[in-house]
């Protein structure tokens, strides 16, 4: 697929047209990119976990399909595909001109191998987390459980044809199988347990993909050198190399100005972005991220011991403080979300009215209400439900007249989220709700804690974020009663039903309108039930030197056509 800024990016590279005349392109050249945390140095797509490793993998590995700015799937390693009648099978025909970085041809064997590995009985034990890409496929349970010798879910038809077989028809089928392919010839003799430590997963020069760049050198934790793959099937990249450097967010602006960095994608701090926008020689591009931040409420605790029975709502215990729906709504109305965006995000963000990214087709804000900031309404809801300040301390007591304090937990790591926590406390104070702000925890232990500390009454409110990736907007994982990330432990039959309906293959197949309708109805119920408040979507901010051209920004990716990137003279 020939890609130019015209047919791909929603927002074409602004540098293109500006200035007097087109600056002259230079041959080759090196582009230095900045990221602010160290990768974990795991460059095997089936094992990496950190998004910083993904920064590198994005240049080196490819999947069967790619998505356009409308999230529609477009061919990549697969030329095209077709569904079977019963919608349970997809057959991909692969390109024949793709070569791995080491010159080996890319074939159906690689695809099958990749998915077999994902379903391997030892995969989870070796630290793999990406079973969602295989667990809907036919025969997964048997294969992963070690009962079957072959994986029925993926099948090589011929050297350039692969067939995926689902257990049930799924409307999300394409997104559920679209995963980076790893080379069989490198890993076939490696036991799955040893794969994460294998050279091909960690060593520069040994990491083999099909992408436009190959990882040739690195100083771990500092620099990752990606050199052009001259044999790239879309054509040799225009740049000679792309170098990732790990730099602190706080000095990113300075380093760009110093010319030490050319491009700081996605994570450029919003505070500095304003400054950079005015600067000559730099381009700032921002768009909403593909995820959102929310304030969760622990509506139910439980299950006490056995996390296996997460979905067994009978084992749940209601959190008495948050049982009242209108009280929860009052909390929702008391939060001035726009002020968070204007303040902490410097406007680089937007509020959302439904738990979908605005760029997604599922997002239909006009139809949904009940999330607006309305202090009066919050107060009247409180009063109506008997939450009044009886002892004159400025805070409401619960209907029984007991003092009411909710505690709010939040994780460290995301500066804006950290800063918004105390503001939420204040805003709720305005409404008369007393919040006790708890000591923040580091991200990783925090999420373990909020999902596990279920029997403990010390958790009422929590801040969290949710990222959808570029996949299907289906929110089941976090919002369905049995969802693994349903930290709120909220369950409502009617609401859950809508989610199920939205995925009903009968009606939803290739019918985005139908799904939009269902999701809109669901979103309304979501906001009525008020067990979580979507706070804002922050923008991803990209800052790069004006000399760098050819970047295509999709709502979820900036590196899609990196082989087209080029530099111009000053």
């Amino acid at each position: 697929v020939g890609c130019s800024s015209d047919d791909a990016g929603t927002k074409p590279n602004e540098g293109d047209g500006s200035g007097s005349g087109e600056p002259e392109a230079v041959e080759g050249g090196k582009v230095t990119l900045g990221m602010h945390s160290t990768p974990e140095n795991q460059f095997n797509p089936i094992f990496y976990t950190s998004s910083y490793d993904a920064n590198i993998l994005n240049f080196t590995h490819e999947s069967l399909m790619t998505q356009d700015e409308d999230f529609q799937y477009q061919p990549e390693l697969a030329k095209d595909w077709e569904f079977s009648e019963d919608k349970r099978e997809i057959t991909f025909s692969l390109r024949d001109d793709v070569k791995w970085h080491d010159g080996e041809p890319f074939t159906a064997d690689d695809v099958v191998f990749t998915y077999e590995m994902l379903a391997d009985p030892g995969y989870v034990g070796a630290g793999g987390v990406r079973t969602t890409f295989v667990n809907k496929l036919q025969g997964y349970e048997e294969y992963a459980g070690g009962e079957a010798d072959t994986f029925a879910g993926v099948e090589k038809v011929d050297d350039l044809t692969v067939k995926f077989v689902f257990g049930e028809p799924s409307v999300k089928a394409l997104s559920e199988v679209n995963f980076s392919i790893i080379p069989k010839h490198v890993f076939e003799d490696v036991a799955i347990g040893d794969m994460p430590e294998h050279e091909g997963s960690i060593r520069a020069g040994e990491v083999i993909g099909t992408g436009p760049f190959k990882l040739t050198d690195m100083i771990e934790n500092e620099q990752y050198v990606l050199e052009a793959n001259k044999d790239y099937w879309k054509g040799a990249p225009k740049l000679d190399s792309v170098v990732w450097r790990v730099v602190d967010q706080s000095v990113a602006a300075g380093m760009l100005e110093q010319g030490e960095l050319d491009f700081f994608p996605e994570m450029f701090p919003p505070d500095d972005a304003e400054d950079m926008e005015g600067k000559e020689g730099f381009e700032v591009f921002s768009q909403p991220k593909f995820g959102y931040q929310y304030l969760g409420m622990k509506v139910n605790y439980g299950p006490d011991e056995d996390l296996n029975d997460l979905a067994n709502t009978d084992l749940w215990k209601p959190n008495p403080k948050l049982e009242n729906k209108e009280f929860r709504q009052a909390i929702m109305h008391a939060i001035d979300r726009q002020s968070l965006i204007d303040g902490f995000l410097r406007g680089y963000g937007s509020i959302i009215d439904a738990p979908f990214p605005p760029a997604s087709w599922a997002y239909n804000p006009d139809e949904i209400n009940g999330l607006e900031y309305n202090l009066e309404k919050a107060k009247s809801l409180l009063e109506k439900n008997g939450y009044v300040d009886t002892n004159g301390d400025g805070y409401v007591e619960d209907p029984d007249g007991n003092e009411l304090t909710l505690n709010l937990h939040y994780p460290l790591g995301n500066k804006v989220r950290e800063r918004s926590a105390p503001v939420i406390v204040e805003q709720l104070k305005e409404a008369g709700i007393r919040i006790e702000l708890k000591t923040p925890m580091e991200t990783a232990p925090y999420f373990t804690w909020i999902s596990e500390k279920n029997s403990d009454e010390e958790l009422d409110l929590f801040l969290a974020g949710w990222s959808l990736g570029s996949g299907d907007p289906d929110p089941s994982t976090i919002h369905q009663g049995k969802g693994t990330m349903n930290y709120s432990r909220f369950y409502d039959e009617a609401q859950d039903k809508l989610l199920e309906e939205a995925l009903d293959p009968e009606k939803a197949w290739d019918n985005l309108e139908y799904r939009t309708e269902k999701y809109t109805a669901w979103a309304q119920m979501f906001s009525d039930n008020a067990y979580a408040t979507p706070l804002y979507i922050d923008d991803e901010i990209h800052v790069y030197t004006s000399r760098l051209k050819g970047i295509v920004f999709k709502p979820f990716s900036y590196s899609a056509d990196s082989h087209e990137w080029y530099l111009t003279k000053q």
């Binding site: 974990e40 140095n41 795991q42 990496y48 994460p196 934790n221 500092e222 602190d248 991200t443 990783a444």
Partner: protein, 321 residues
């Protein structure tokens, strides 16, 4: 002298053992199995869970666990990192250890090269301009938080003047020989100086007061009475005596540097043990945490040992007892 070193080495062993015990205890207290880095999935079948625990030796008596861990630690096997999937702790540490070592060494050298001459000069020329400036610098150095000095340094020398790099340990890959060395030094200047700031300040003061003490001592009066020139008195008789107490401090300073490295490395994104430690704290990567603690403690012990040996080398009184 040789006997002294042997004796010190023998004393070293029980201390290392105690240190390992403490680290083991910490790891034992920490959630999960911080010793092997195996995180057991608590969601699995309790029977299987128990089996796995038993297989990992988690049900053994504490001392057996300690012994097994010690045996593994002795050959550098600290288990797997929880955070860095598929990486062994020793691998992670090896990767960064040399960087921190360079940083600590560089800053130690800067500290000594700056503080000793200035301290000496200040003592010789009490109340001179340089003495006052030195004292002022020392006071300021002790009162300025390390990270703040680092930030100011970046602001002025990297972004203001553009002289020094702010991030990382080397400018690019593929360098070798002299180029690499120079690039590394270039990258060490700012972190090294900020890391050594507090040390420099306090050593300067130490040196000054030690020099003053020694200059007022009887044997210096003797040296003068013998008609020795000022230079001999100063460099031969005073310096060596004044430096003795400083040398003993060096062992401790080594520890301070390792601790300070956590902050300095964080500011400069310097890929050393400090940043690894910090990220391990943030991610509760206990196996890495414990291993770094152990390494730091052992490094300090070695530092102390070296300090003691050099102490003995310059102070003949030590060798007797």
């Amino acid at each position: 002298m040789f006997k002294y070193i042997i004796r010190r080495l023998l004393q070293f062993i029980p201390l290392v053992l105690i240190v390992t015990m403490i680290v083991f205890l910490f790891a034992y207290l920490a959630p999960g199995d911080a010793l092997s880095g195996e995180m057991l999935d608590p969601n699995i079948d309790p029977e299987v869970y128990e089996e796995q625990r038993a297989a990992l030796g988690l049900n053994d008596p504490v001392y057996v666990q300690y012994w097994n861990w010690l045996k593994r630690a002795a050959v550098g096997d600290f288990g797997m990192s929880l955070n860095f999937k598929g990486r062994s702790v020793s691998d992670l540490i090896m990767q960064r250890f040399d960087n921190t070592l360079y940083l600590a060494m560089f800053s130690l050298v800067v500290t000594l090269v700056v503080s000793i001459p200035i301290g000496m000069y200040s003592a010789r020329h009490k109340n001179s301009l340089l003495d006052y400036s030195g004292t002022t610098f020392a006071f300021l150095g002790l009162a300025t938080p390390n990270f703040f000095a680092a930030l100011l340094g970046i602001y002025v020398f990297s972004f203001g003047l553009g002289w020094l790099p702010t991030q990382g340990s080397v400018s690019s890959t593929g360098l070798s020989g002299l180029d690499e060395f120079l690039s590394r030094i270039h990258h060490l200047v700012l972190p090294g100086i900020t890391l050594g700031l507090a040390g420099t300040a306090s050593y300067m003061r130490y040196m000054r007061s030690e020099m003053l003490d020694v200059l007022g001592s009887d044997y210096i009066r003797t040296a003068r009475a013998k008609g020795l020139g000022e230079k001999t008195v100063l460099y031969k008789h005073t310096l060596r005596n004044a430096i003795i107490p400083i040398v003993t401090l060096l062992g401790i300073e080594f520890g301070t540097l390792l601790g300070g490295a956590v902050i300095t490395e964080a500011v400069f994104n310097y890929p050393g043990l400090g940043t690894l430690f910090l990220s391990s704290v943030q991610n509760r990567d206990y196996p890495v945490l414990m291993a770094i603690n152990l390494i730091a403690a052992v490094s300090i012990l070695i530092g102390n040992l070296l300090a003691d040996i050099s102490y003995a080398a310059i102070d003949p009184r030590i060798r007797l007892n």
